[in-house]
C-alpha cells in the first residue's frame, strides 16, 4: 500500500477575523474564557460582596439545620398502565404547512418531555430536525396566549361560540356572502373534510391560503409543465448525480429529513471500493447543502433561471431529447462558465435515470417547469423523483390572498377568519394588512400568542399546541397519520379543527369526536375500533400512501411559458444589489421567534445567535466599505430598513441575503425586539428575490453575538478531508495525516477491557451541519439558554457544537462541519487537573462529571484540548417559570451556579438501558442505547455503542480506514472518533476554478 504523501491537507480557517489575525481573534485564542467572563454582570464592589457573603454564610448556618419537608402526592385512582418512574411513549404527528412529521413523544407521568422521530413515518423515518426538537419548549412557552379575547378583553370560549351563533344564521342564509377565511397550507384528512364542508355551506365565501415561506412556485411550475397539481417526492438515495438550483434541500426545503437521510445513504462509503454520489450546487447564499457540494457555483438567485435554461440547453446540445425554446437566453449564458456547465451536463447524462435536478422554493415557477422537463427527459421521473397525487391538501396561493385583500379593501368582506398565521407581521408589506383589518366588521384570529395580528382583530382565540391537540395529517408520500394529545391544553387552547367546526356548524364539538368521525370514513365500520387503536399505537395508518402517478409532459404549455418569460440577463451589480428573502434556520418565518433554544442556536453557516443580519460577500463588503457588525441602511423600492451586516465568505457577489422572521413586536419575552424585521421591505411582486437594492453605511455598529470564534482549535488537522480519488489511492490518509513520535503515557494506563465500554463515531462524510443534534441535546439534558449578552462573552452552554470551517479561497471557499461534544478521553486531561476529583472515570470508560463535588475552579476547562466543557457562570435555571420547568427531563440533574458540565454520552439513557437489561436478565443489545444527538441525526452520522463488542455497529465503524482521532497525537485516547470527510469532484473539473463572469 502506498503511503500517504499529502499529510498536511487543506488549510482551514474559521472566520475572516482569523485570516486577518485581528486582535479580537488573538484574544479568543489565548483566553479560554474571554475578558470579563468571570466578572459579575452588575458592578458589585468588593465591600458589598463581602457584606453579602457574610450574611449568606450566617443564613446558611440557620437554614442548614433541617432539610425541607417534601410531600408525596399519589394518585387517588391510578390511571391504567401509568407507573411512576417509567416513561410512556406515544406516537403523534407534527404538522408543518403541507408537511408532517411522525413523532414519538416521551411522557413522564403525563408530562411530555422529549420529542423523537417515529421510525414508521415516511417523512421523519425515526429522525428529526431542530424545529421539531424545539417544539418541546414551544409547548411550555409561558408567553402563550391564555384566554379568548374580545378587543383585548379576556373572554370565555363559550362567549365566542355564542357570538358566532348570533351571526351564523345570517351567514348561512346568504351562503357565506361577505365571509372570508385566510389559512395556512395544510394536508390533513379532517381539516380537508371540514374545508369541503365549508365550501358546501358557504359557497359564496372566499377561502385563501397564504404562507410567508411558500412552496407555491414548485406546484405552479409542475402544473405548467405537466398540467397537473402533483406533489414531487424526491428519492435522494437513488440519485448518483444531483444538481441543486438554489435549493437547501438538506435543511430548509420541505421534507429535509428524508432528503438528508437519502443523501447520506448515497454518500456513505464503508471502504475505498464503494461509490458515492456527486452534488452540484448553484446558489446565492452559502447553505449547508452548498457546504456538502462537490462543486458549488456562487450565483445570484435572480440568475438561476437563466442558468437553469443554460443547463437544459447544454443537455439538449449533448443529445437529451428536451424540447424547449432557448432563443432569449443566448446572450446571458455566455456569462456562465461553459466548461463547468458542460462537465455537469455530461455527468448528468451519464447517469440518466439515476440523477436528480432539484430547485428551491425561492425560484420562480419557470425554473421548476424546466427542472421538471429535465427530470422527465432524463428518465429520473419515476426513479429518483416520483409524483404523488395531492390529496386532502390546500396549497398556498398568493393570488387567493391578494384577492381576499382586495375584497377587504373594497368593503366586500364583512367577516374575516384567520386560521393561524400572522399576516399583520408577515404579509407582503404592500398589502398593508394592518389597516385592512380595520375595514372588516368582524375578525377572528386563531394563534398561539397574542401576536401582531391578534392585537388588531376583534376576536382572538388561543391555539392549542399540536402536542395538546387531536388531529391528523397526510405526509408527502400520501400516508396518513394521527395527531394525538400528550397533555390537556395547558392554557385552554383550541385547535383549528375545533374552531373551523364552530364556523361551519355553530356547534362546539371536541376535536376528538371530529377526528374520529373523519376516520370512520377511512376505516371499515367492522374493524373501526381495532384499526383506530392500531393507528394510535403506530401513529401511521396502514400503508395507504397516495398513488404514484406519471403526470406526463405538456410541451405546448411549457413552450409558451418559457418563451414568455423574461430571463434576467444582467445579474446584480454594486449599484443594483440583489435582495434574497430566506426563511431563517432558527425562527423559520417568525413562528419560532419566542423559542429560546432556537434563538440561541448558532446559525448553521454564520454562527450568529439571537439576531438576523444582512449577509453579503467579502468582495461586496469591500466595495461598499462595510464590515461585519456595521449597521447599514438598506433601501429597496420606496422602502428602507436598518440592519447589521455580516460578511459571509461564499456568498454570491452583490447579493444580500435577508433571513425573515425576526424583529417580532408582539410574541413574548424572548422574541420581542430580537433581530430586525425584514418583512417590512418584502412586497408581493418580489416575495423571494429582486434586484434594485442599495446599501449605505450609517456609521453605527451593532453587536452580533456570534459563537464563531469561540473555542478555536488553531488550524491543526481536526477535520480531515480528501477527494474520493485520493482516498482510493491512499486509503489510510486520515489516520496518517498527523505523524507523532510513539505515544507513551507518563503513568500506567488503566485497561478497559471488561463489560461495556462506550464509544462513538461521527461520520463527517454524511454530517450536513443541520443543528438537529444541538437542540436534541439541549432538550434531553436540561441545558439552559443564557441570552445574547452571555453568548457574546462565550458562555453558551451547548454540550454539542458544530464547528464550521471554511477552506480555500476567501470568496469561494468550501465548508466543512465537525460536531464536537466531550470526546470521553480515556486519558483525560481534565481529570488530571481537577483538585477535588469532581471529574473522574468510571469503569465503562466514561468521563463523568459529579456536579455536587465541583467547586468551579475551571481548571478542567482550561486543560481540555477540545473546549467542550461548559461552566455555569450564573444560576441560569433559578428563575425558570413553573411551566417551563415541566420541559425538564427528570432523569438529568438540573445544574446550579458555579459548576462545570459537559456531554455525558447521555448517561441517563445508558443507565436506563442497563437496568432494563438487568431486569430482563440479558445483556444490553447493540443499538438499544441511542444518545439524543444520534437519535435525532437525520443523516445517521452518529453511531454509539459498546466498543468492547467487536460485532457492534460502532466497533465496525471504528475499523474503517477513514477512522481517525482528533488530536490523537496528544495521547488522550478519545472514545469519540471521526470518519474523514470525502468529496467526489468530477475528474473533468479537478482543481478547476470556476469562472463566474
Amino acid at each position: 500500500m502506498k503511503k500517504n504523501v499529502n499529510v498536511k491537507g487543506k488549510e482551514y480557517w474559521r472566520s475572516l477575523d482569523q485570516l486577518a489575525e485581528t486582535p479580537e481573534f488573538q484574544e479568543f485564542l489565548h483566553r479560554e474564557f474571554p475578558e470579563n467572563a468571570s466578572e459579575m454582570i452588575s458592578p458589585v464592589s468588593r465591600r458589598k460582596f463581602l457584606t453579602l457573603m457574610g450574611a449568606s454564610i450566617a443564613f446558611a448556618g440557620l437554614a442548614g439545620c433541617r432539610r425541607p419537608v417534601e410531600k408525596i402526592v399519589p394518585y387517588v385512582i391510578a390511571p391504567e398502565n401509568v407507573v411512576p418512574g417509567i416513561p410512556k411513549h406515544y406516537a403523534t404527528t407534527m404538522p408543518f404547512g403541507l408537511d408532517s412529521y411522525g413523532l414519538v413523544v416521551e411522557n413522564h407521568e403525563g408530562r411530555p418531555t422529549k420529542i423523537e422521530g417515529n421510525k414508521k413515518h415516511p417523512s421523519s423515518l425515526g429522525s428529526s430536525n431542530a424545529f421539531i426538537q424545539s417544539e418541546m419548549l414551544n409547548l411550555y412557552d409561558p408567553d402563550r396566549s391564555q384566554s379568548v379575547r374580545l378587543k383585548g378583553v379576556e373572554k370565555e370560549w363559550t362567549e365566542f361560540v355564542a357570538f358566532w351563533r348570533e351571526i351564523y344564521p345570517a351567514l348561512l342564509e346568504t351562503r357565506g356572502e361577505g365571509l372570508a377565511v385566510i389559512s395556512g397550507a395544510f394536508s390533513s384528512p379532517s381539516l380537508y373534510r371540514l374545508f369541503e364542508k365549508f365550501n358546501r355551506e358557504f359557497p359564496k365565501a372566499d377561502w385563501s391560503v397564504y404562507e410567508p415561506v411558500s412552496d407555491e412556485n414548485i406546484y405552479s411550475g409542475i402544473r405548467i409543465a405537466s398540467g397537473k397539481t402533483v406533489r414531487p417526492v424526491y428519492h435522494f438515495d437513488k440519485a448518483k448525480v444531483i444538481l441543486s438550483l438554489d435549493a437547501d434541500f438538506l435543511l430548509m426545503e420541505n421534507e429535509s429529513i428524508k432528503a438528508n437521510k437519502g443523501f447520506a445513504a448515497g454518500r456513505r462509503v464503508e471502504s475505498e471500493k464503494d461509490n458515492m454520489n456527486r452534488l452540484y450546487v448553484a446558489e446565492s447564499v452559502f447553505t449547508v447543502t452548498g457546504g456538502m457540494a462537490d462543486h458549488r457555483l456562487r450565483l445570484e438567485s435572480s440568475m438561476i433561471p437563466a442558468f437553469t435554461a443554460a443547463v437544459a440547453e447544454e443537455l439538449s446540445r449533448l443529445g437529451l431529447p428536451i424540447d424547449l425554446p432557448f432563443p432569449d437566453i443566448k446572450d446571458t449564458h455566455r456569462k456562465f462558465d461553459r466548461k463547468w456547465i458542460n462537465a455537469l451536463a455530461k455527468d448528468l447524462l451519464k447517469n440518466d435515470q439515476q440523477s436528480l435536478v432539484v430547485a428551491g422554493r425561492r425560484q420562480p415557477a419557470i425554473v421548476h417547469s424546466i427542472v421538471y422537463a429535465i427530470n422527465h427527459a432524463m428518465g429520473n421521473a419515476g426513479n429518483t423523483v416520483t409524483y404523488n397525487e395531492l390529496k386532502d391538501s390546500v396549497i398556498p396561493s398568493l393570488e387567493s390572498f391578494k384577492r381576499v385583500a382586495d375584497k377587504v379593501n373594497t368593503g366586500e368582506i364583512d367577516t374575516l377568519i384567520l386560521l393561524g398565521g400572522n399576516p399583520v407581521f408577515d404579509a407582503p408589506s404592500d398589502f398593508d394588512f394592518k389597516s385592512l383589518l380595520k375595514k372588516v366588521n368582524h375578525s377572528v384570529h386563531l394563534s398561539m400568542h397574542v401576536d401582531e395580528t391578534s392585537e388588531m382583530t376583534e376576536w382572538h382565540i388561543p391555539q392549542a399546541h399540536f402536542l395538546e391537540s387531536w388531529g391528523d395529517a397526510r405526509a408527502a408520500d400520501g400516508s396518513r397519520s394521527v395527531i394525538q394529545p400528550m397533555i390537556e391544553p395547558l392554557f385552554g387552547g383550541h385547535t383549528m379543527i375545533e374552531l373551523l367546526n364552530v364556523i361551519i356548524s355553530g356547534e362546539d364539538r371536541r376535536g376528538y369526536d371530529i377526528v374520529r368521525e373523519t376516520w370512520q370514513n377511512i376505516f371499515s365500520a367492522t374493524e373501526y375500533e381495532k384499526k383506530w387503536r392500531g393507528l394510535l399505537h403506530n401513529g401511521v395508518a396502514d400503508a395507504d400512501a397516495g398513488k404514484e402517478i406519471d403526470p406526463g409532459l405538456n410541451s405546448s404549455s411549457l413552450h409558451t411559458t418559457v418563451k414568455k418569460f423574461k430571463f434576467n440577463q444582467s445579474g446584480a451589480s454594486i449599484n443594483d444589489l440583489e435582495v434574497v428573502f430566506m426563511a431563517s434556520p432558527a425562527v423559520y418565518d417568525g413562528r419560532y421567534a419566542n423559542n429560546g433554544w432556537m434563538q440561541e442556536m448558532p446559525d448553521p453557516v454564520t454562527k450568529i445567535t439571537w439576531d438576523n443580519a444582512a449577509l453579503i460577500s467579502p468582495k461586496t463588503a469591500d466595495e461598499l466599505g462595510v464590515k461585519t457588525q456595521d449597521l447599514v441602511r438598506l433601501t429597496y423600492k420606496d422602502r428602507d430598513m436598518i440592519i447589521p451586516v455580516s460578511v459571509l465568505p461564499g456568498q454570491a457577489d452583490y447579493s444580500i441575503t435577508l433571513p425573515v422572521g425576526y424583529g417580532r413586536r408582539s410574541v413574548g419575552r424572548i422574541g420581542n425586539g430580537t433581530g430586525f424585521d425584514v418583512y417590512r421591505i418584502r412586497t408581493s411582486d418580489a416575495l423571494n428575490f429582486d434586484q434594485g437594492a442599495r446599501i449605505t453605511g450609517t456609521g453605527e455598529t451593532y453587536l452580533l453575538a456570534n459563537s464563531q470564534d469561540h473555542n478555536s482549535m488553531e488550524g491543526r488537522p481536526l477535520v480531515r478531508e480528501a477527494s474520493l480519488d485520493h482516498y482510493r489511492q491512499y486509503p489510510d490518509f486520515a489516520p496518517e495525516m498527523v505523524k507523532s513520535p510513539p505515544l507513551k503515557s507518563l503513568w500506567e494506563d488503566r485497561v478497559y477491557d471488561e463489560g461495556y465500554q462506550w464509544g462513538m463515531t461521527i461520520d463527517l462524510n454524511t454530517c450536513s451541519g443541520c443543528n438537529a443534534c444541538v437542540i436534541a441535546c439541549q432538550s434531553e439534558n436540561n441545558i439552559p439558554i443564557v441570552g445574547k449578552e452571555q453568548v457574546s462573552k462565550g458562555r453558551e452552554m451547548h454540550w454539542i457544537r458544530l464547528d464550521r470551517y471554511f477552506a480555500g479561497d476567501i470568496d469561494d471557499p468550501e465548508m466543512v462541519y465537525q460536531p464536537v461534544a466531550c470526546q470521553h478521553c480515556e486519558n483525560a486531561p481534565c481529570e488530571q487537573v481537577c483538585p477535588v476529583q469532581a471529574t473522574v472515570h468510571d469503569d465503562e470508560g466514561l468521563n463523568v462529571m459529579t456536579y455536587n463535588r465541583c467547586i468551579g475552579t475551571r481548571y478542567c476547562s482550561n486543560n481540555c484540548p477540545y473546549k467542550v466543557r461548559r461552566f455555569n457562570f450564573f444560576n441560569y435555571t433559578k428563575d425558570l417559570g413553573e411551566i417551563i420547568k415541566m420541559a425538564q427531563n427528570p432523569d438529568v440533574t438540573v445544574r446550579s451556579r458555579g459548576v462545570m458540565e459537559k456531554c455525558t454520552f447521555c448517561i441517563q439513557r445508558i443507565s436506563g438501558a442497563k437496568n432494563n437489561a438487568k431486569l430482563e436478565e440479558r445483556e444490553v443489545l447493540d443499538g438499544e442505547i441511542e444518545t439524543a444527538c444520534q437519535q435525532s441525526c437525520p443523516a445517521d452520522a452518529i453511531v454509539f455503542g459498546n466498543i468492547n463488542d467487536p460485532e457492534s455497529a460502532v466497533s465496525k465503524m471504528k475499523k474503517q480506514n477513514r477512522n481517525y482521532t482528533m488530536l490523537g497525537e496528544l495521547n488522550v485516547k478519545t472514545r469519540t472518533t471521526f470518519l474523514a470527510k470525502l468529496r467526489n469532484p468530477n475528474p473533468e473539473l479537478k482543481d478547476y476554478k470556476i469562472n463566474i463572469n
Binding site: V69, G85, G755, D842, T904, N915, L919
Partner: protein
C-alpha cells in the same frame, strides 16, 4: 538596637492558644453535628396526614409490602399507593373509623392525600428500587423493620458512605428472592457462600463509580 519583634507579639502565644482552642471546638462541633443522626435524619419520624400503621397492616395482618408498593420490582419508584388501594378493603372494613376520615375524604373529593416523605435522597442522586430488588436486597436492609413500626421512621443514614459500604461489600445483604420482603430476616449460616453464588449467577456488580448514581 531596635527590637525585631514589636510589642504586640508578646500576646501572640495567647492568641494562638485561643485560636487553636476555638478551632478545635469548631472542629469537634462540626463533626458532632454533621456525623450525628440530627444531620443524617436517622430517626426522622414525621406525623403523617393519616395515622396509618405499618405494624398493623404489614406486621399483624401480614400483608406483603408489594400489595401497596406495587411498582417496586420494575420501576425506580416503589410508589405510595393511590387512595383506591386503601379503599379496596376499607369500603367494607372499618368504614366508620375516625382515623380513616382523610382517606374517605380523598376518595370522595378526588383530592390526593399528601404524605410526608420520610426517606429523602438528594435530587442529584438517582436510586432505582427495581435494580436493588432484582439483585436480592431486602426492603428491610434500607428501611428497617417497617412491620414493627406504628409510625414509619428513617432507620439508616442514607448517606453516600452508607450506600458505598454496601456496594463494596454486598454479600451480607443478598437474600433469596422469596425472602426479599420478609422482616426480621436472619442470614443463614452459609450466607457468604450463597451470596457469592448469586453474585456470580446474576453478574451483580454494584457500581462504585460516580456515574452509578449521579447523572
Amino acid at each position: 538596637m531596635a527590637q525585631i519583634f514589636p510589642k504586640w507579639t508578646n500576646k501572640l502565644p495567647l492568641y494562638i492558644i485561643i485560636g487553636v482552642m476555638f478551632g478545635g471546638m469548631a472542629t469537634v462541633g462540626f463533626i458532632w453535628y454533621y456525623g450525628s443522626p440530627k444531620y443524617t435524619d436517622v430517626g426522622y419520624r414525621p406525623e403523617q396526614p393519616v395515622e396509618y400503621s405499618h405494624k398493623l397492616h404489614a406486621g399483624d395482618l401480614g400483608m406483603d409490602c408489594r400489595y401497596c408498593h406495587t411498582s417496586v420490582e420494575f420501576s425506580e419508584e416503589a410508589i405510595i399507593p393511590p387512595t383506591q388501594t386503601c379503599m379496596n378493603c376499607h369500603t367494607l372494613i372499618r368504614t366508620e373509623s375516625e382515623k380513616l376520615l382523610p382517606v374517605r375524604e380523598s376518595w370522595a373529593t378526588g383530592d390526593p392525600i399528601q404524605w410526608v416523605r420520610v426517606h429523602n435522597l438528594p435530587d442529584f442522586a438517582y436510586f432505582r428500587h427495581s435494580a436493588h430488588i432484582k439483585a436480592g436486597v431486602g426492603c428491610e436492609s434500607c428501611h428497617g423493620n417497617v412491620a414493627a413500626m406504628e409510625v414509619v421512621e428513617q432507620k439508616e443514614s442514607l448517606s453516600m458512605s452508607w450506600c458505598i459500604d454496601c456496594h463494596r461489600n454486598p454479600e451480607p445483604f443478598i437474600r433469596p428472592p422469596d425472602d426479599i420482603t420478609k422482616m426480621n430476616w436472619k442470614p443463614p449460616t452459609n450466607q457468604l457462600e450463597f451470596a457469592r453464588k448469586v453474585i456470580d449467577e446474576k453478574k451483580i456488580k454494584p457500581p462504585v463509580d460516580c456515574s452509578g448514581c449521579h447523572r
